[in-house]
Symmetry: C2
Subunit: 190 residues, 2 copies
């Protein structure tokens, strides 16, 4: 028994096999990046493991979780399954897994959009979700390579990739993704 067995058992029961494997992969990738960047690797593994724990829940159920948490989110987030789960995960993180670590919760909360001025742990979870071994899209190998040598360059490339993907699908783009990208570029220049 490891300390993660209870969480894994819960995820195995409630997620599709594909997403369960993705969650384990994200945890392992996050742990690896944490070791490179000298961030708490247990927090990274944990955040990676639970980041998608509410991703497959009905959206109405997720609205109830937000109410229970007392969190208000913007209109785009509340109507988009790809976004809202990052906020509702906190409900299971606290109530099901009994984790109260604010750094872990924040890293999960911004794993889909990013934001301005991210912590290293937030960057690691954002990137691990994008680049874990089962992910396959044009440019993912370049992101994997950059992530191990220059995390901000990897982050910029991942933001660009996400923006291009949503442009191509005629979908709205969350402002935090743009603000996160602008922030990275501004700090490169300074």
């Amino acid at each position: 028994m490891t300390e993660y067995d209870a969480i894994k058992e819960y995820l195995a029961k409630t997620l599709s096999t594909k997403r369960f494997i993705h969650s384990e992969n994200t945890a392992k990738t996050a742990e690896e990046l944490a070791l490179i960047y000298k961030v708490d690797s247990k927090k990274a593994y944990l955040a990676g493991l639970v980041h998608d724990c509410t991703r497959e829940l009905d959206i109405n159920q997720q609205h109830n979780m937000l109410k229970a948490l007392g969190i208000e989110v913007d209109e785009l987030t509340i109507t988009t399954k790809e976004l809202i789960h990052a906020f509702t995960a906190e409900y299971l993180i606290i109530n099901e897994f009994n984790i109260h670590d604010k750094e872990v919760i924040s890293a999960v909360r911004f794993h889909t959009t990013g934001k301005e001025n991210m912590t290293l742990l937030e960057k690691i979870i954002f990137l691990s979700d994008v680049m874990e071994p089962s992910r396959s899209f044009p440019g993912v190998d370049f992101i994997r390579q950059l992530a191990r040598s220059n995390i901000d360059e990897a982050l910029l490339t991942a933001f660009d990739s996400s923006i291009r993907f949503l442009l191509g699908k005629r979908q709205r783009i969350h402002p935090n993704t743009l603000l996160g990208r602008n922030y990275v570029l501004k700090h490169f220049k300074e």
Copy 2:
């Protein structure tokens, strides 16, 4: 003598030939779109003509104009020549051309970035600047075609084109462009 001769004379003296021609072209394109969409075509011509009147001024001179106008803008706008001129144009529009029309000033102000919930005149100036006959970039003919049949589809395509251009150049993207794009997409769906 037309009523625009004094403005044209001023622009001919203060702008490069290329930008003077671009200004006249933008005015004519805006007038044409205004007739299609039943917007005041004199306002459209005027806004098109003056939209770039401060585009070639020194940025410090433009900072003084903002102070004189009492306008505060965000950090990205104030440091970017491609953005700040849309705000400083108001200084010449009022003090040199003696135009006080708020619709004209607003159309000039948002001609580079766009924004949420644009008026028809704002959309027309934004698009005329992008698609006037001397402009040449991949996709411009498609924007020209759309602009005459579906202005919001043209606007979306122009926003996408602007975002892709800035992604490719590793430059920051003004949030108003993203918000403008999100707004158009949301209203298509509704």
